[in-house]
Symmetry: D2
């Protein structure tokens, strides 16, 4: 931390700050300029609240030098992390697509979804069994019955399963059926939940809170990593801004920014990111072009009748067309996309790529 | 709901929308103008996602007419709700002050806090035993031991106790020691927690999420009210904006807006609202002048050594001075403030007030 | 406009609202439901301030049905507008790239820029001669001398010229040298300037204000169109949000949204959109993948020594690599990019595209 | 400026940064720690764009130590600035109220406004003759005729006049009639205008841009101060946030923050700050309680028929009642309010105040 004193700070004020920092376990180095003193402080607790120094008399400004997170940072681990699932990895050369309905509703619905997801070339079936709804009067999910249906539908198609945990009490249950535990945006700072997920060995997909800074998002990942679970995927899903035409503003630039700050893979969610079906495909293409490691997309066999998220769910035929577009884009960033036998039939990667 | 069709919408598109609405249980009334058709839809589920209609072909815009919440609205209950605590009420003529440290740290610290709080004329001692911290490396609270110390300190001074619950597993425990359960901003949309609090009979102080719209805040209150707990106080504590000088932007205008939309009492938290000690007093005065029913303020006997929230905690002497200022302001809005014998000693209310 | 009355509104209040609307030139149609009255009002002034009705007694909510802009909307003109420049058009099948330094500095610098821009396959040389700077102590541009140097450099390479006008007094002067007049984000609501540009016959590139809603942006375009200048290009260049890692948050989703609402072509500016060199390429690719009609990119022969915008300017070699990536992406949205002889040498478009 | 190098930065990278800073006129002091090097740079241009260093290889972070503005800062001028107008001052012990209609419409309207303003005890009549309107189809103001009417109405009541300049071409004209030139939010970064206002000797009321940071606002004040006009008043009028119930979110906390950073007086505008009549009084009281030096309030003799800003204009009787409330609050911050003979009749200041 660097403490910049005011020009008119008295010697007593400077000494008071030095004493406070020393008390807190910092090593302090003072440089006295012509106009003002500047103090450099190293050591101490990574989580120290710098505002404690900011409010002291004679202090002009306090600047933090180290990121408040450690395990999530590239400084700590320079090479990319990839999360492995049997025959594929999130964070490698291949870009992975996850898709499925907002919630599991019936056996037919989830089975039809799984078929569509597989046919399009995606690798993971997503679907909610426990739904966080802003209104207490909305459909709240099928619970364990939904998980069981989804697991069966995924197994029939050779897909992995991703589903949300809303509470510590769900972890054990959802882990029995799912390969990926999703943390929703509203729970990004539910620290009790994050701490418990650190004890799990199931990979986590951590959605960014609707108004979370990138630093806060990485701090939430740190909670999970610090508990011992190193399989964390970060998922950008739109932030809240003043603009109301789209439900959220999908922060595409967060993708390259996070990849620079952290070694964790980044997933993009264009469905929540825009909230409207028409904008899902353009934003999915944009996220891939910006370098996302995976995409997670709401698709439903009959979105107009969906019990949740219907407006942001695309039709299976739209997913097929989107996948064709994504396959054209992927080589521009030196990557391939979902190259399984069914999906790649009739399509050949270009002979050379841009990188 | 009002559905505005596009000028070029075909008759088939209009019929498709009508069918979708009818299926969903709405009564539809159509008016066909010179340029476009407009559909009025009543009935149906209050939580219906209007985006489902927005994405249909030929639809120009969908406008919701009813608020998505019911029990929290003034339409449902026109008269003010006051939450009673023995000899005082939050939401009546008297403005209540709650104060205390960010966290309970030691027996001496919480006892000294209680003395200062009582002396200033406040009625409720607040303090955290379970702390939601954005870093896993920060002090996380004393747990039950902290609650026990706080209860003893409050009882010795004749104060009520307010403390935060972070998780469903805390509710029973915290309720044994506290008179008010606080829900933090990060948990405003933790629906599992809200649902359980609806089963409790302890009054709830529900902080607004850092990026929650007023509608979302009232929907979260609705979760608690719908469970049967009608003692909900809404607490404004600052929203996230582009401005970085203050940690948050305290949304003072939310106070009169919420009071117009809802019958629930509104509490203002200038400590979290600004994040910096120097700005607590001006914002406390502003919140009172805007009509807040209560204030909740971080005060600490030695803020420079606080284990949490020290930078936003004021000194006991600052609280005393602030209370004197608040007593001058209260009559401007036709109210009094904390008129207990100790606090009002030497102070007499003005003979007449403005309202 | 639709006026929703409160459930408890008196007949007198309803009549008062009807009278106010009739006075203002609206035709009013009333439907009286079981719970409340709803008034439909048509005609009247497109710019009528609906808040005037909102504040009336007994009014619950007022909903606007028509967009406040007309000439800029797709309702008015369903087919795409393309702005033509001799042998190319912005808004057609070919995606156009504009590039150049933040400001014209010297004859050598702008000539080197023009060579790099041409070599990469871009069609327009951009550069500032009048610079809007937030500090009065920053470099403010070379003025007319800069325009003269830029014109000469562009002519030598067969490029068009785009440059900013900050004030009505610049219009005539800049028009003498430039083919495109840029309006900066800070001037998006400088109505005196917009009105004058409506009188011009030079195409306008209208940057979105840093906190302008899409509706406000289109209203600003309306000012120019209403004056008679129909060659308006809309330029997304990042909005202000709570996130501070990037200078702005580039709103990629605005691209498809605006294309749905308006017939005007959309240009994306990834340099201002991110403010940092490293993020320009990912966001340029993302903007193209989302459907932008053109890109405008800061490039400088020696960005570390640039007098303005150096940090967001890429090196000529980076522009070359980016163009190669963009050429791979364009077919995914059924478009080509900058197919002039120099740039396309050694590159052949894929045999088939996705659409 | 402090430059923090990455842990893995090479010696060559460090030397490259030092060379770049030295070239730009900075004195550089290097301290090499165990983990990383930190460079302190002093001197150089106040307006230097620190992003130029941020993008260099091996640089972890760059922190600015000095504010980018000078004349506007308290470091430069520690004592408060008060702007004088004959028998009163903005920025002294007395809090000044300015009031009037959004636009001058007719002789009767402005005369009735002046009478109401005077009767309430306000000192300045405000009113627009040139109106910045987001729609080209809205009323644009009466121009010089309006100024003439307003001057006459103000003179008849012994009031000062405040009116907006939208463009450099208005300055000379408006100055002939007005005592205060207002700069609107949309023009806060119209640098051509600011520069010209620096040449004027008429006091300026500079409204904060709707998404301007406090730093940008003070930089805009700097433009005027740097030109030689030292009579600048800063006016908070609401910022744009995600919340839509109020048109803007009035940033009350900006009042104490700006007063700490700058010596310039701060005016609060609760009419634009909320956009709705009902919320004007609570926010006016809040702004005063937070320490505003003056208030500027939209009042209209017949707001329902106002040609602009009617929804945010209060009735004369509401202004009277608000003034009575403000007079109760002022002593809480050690100030008086508008103590002219008419207004103070029947009211006596309290014998003692809180400070």
């Amino acid at each position: 931390m660097v403490v910049v004193m005011e020009e008119r700070a008295s010697e007593e004020e400077v000494q008071h700050v030095i004493a406070q920092l020393t008390d807190r376990g910092f090593d302090v180095h003072r440089s006295t300029g012509q106009l003002r003193s500047v103090l450099g402080a190293v050591g101490g607790n990574r989580a120290f609240d710098i505002r404690l120094i900011e409010v002291m008399d004679g202090v002009h400004e306090v600047l933090r030098i180290t990121e408040p997170y450690k395990l999530a940072s590239r400084t700590f681990k320079p090479e990319d992390t990839a999360v492995s699932f049997g025959d594929f990895r999130v964070g490698g050369d291949e870009v992975i697509v996850m898709a499925g309905p907002g919630s599991v509703e019936t056996e037919e619905q989830i089975a039809a979804s799984a078929v569509a997801v597989k046919k399009a070339g995606a690798k993971v079936l997503q679907g909610g069994a426990f739904k966080p709804r802003s209104s207490p009067y909305s459909f709240q999910g099928l619970g364990e019955a939904g998980l069981r249906l989804m697991r069966a539908a995924a197994d029939a198609e050779g897909l992995k399963v991703a589903s949300e945990v809303m509470d510590v009490t769900h972890i054990e249950l959802v882990s029995r059926y799912a390969d990926i535990l999703q943390v929703g945006a509203r729970n990004m700072q539910n620290y009790t939940l994050l701490r418990e997920l650190g004890q799990s060995r199931t990979p986590i997909l951590l959605r960014r809170g609707i108004s979370a800074t990138i630093e806060e998002w990485l701090l939430s990942a740190e909670y999970i990593l610090a508990g011992g679970n190193s399989d964390v995927m970060l998922c950008e899903r739109g932030i809240r801004t003043f603009e109301g035409y789209t439900r959220n503003t999908m922060d595409i630039s967060a993708i390259p920014v996070v990849q620079k700050l952290s070694h964790l893979p980044v997933v993009a969610d264009p469905s929540h990111g825009t909230g409207l079906r028409d904008h899902v495909a353009p934003m999915a293409r944009a996220a891939l072009a910006a370098g996302a490691d995976a995409l997670i997309i709401d698709v439903h066999p009959d979105p107009d009748r969906a019990l949740s998220d219907g407006a942001q769910s695309i039709f299976p035929a739209q997913l097929d067309r989107l996948m064709a577009e994504l396959r054209i884009i992927a080589p521009a960033i030196g990557r391939s996309i979902c190259l399984d036998p069914v999906a790649s039939r009739g399509w050949a990667p270009p002979a050379e790529t841009a990188h």
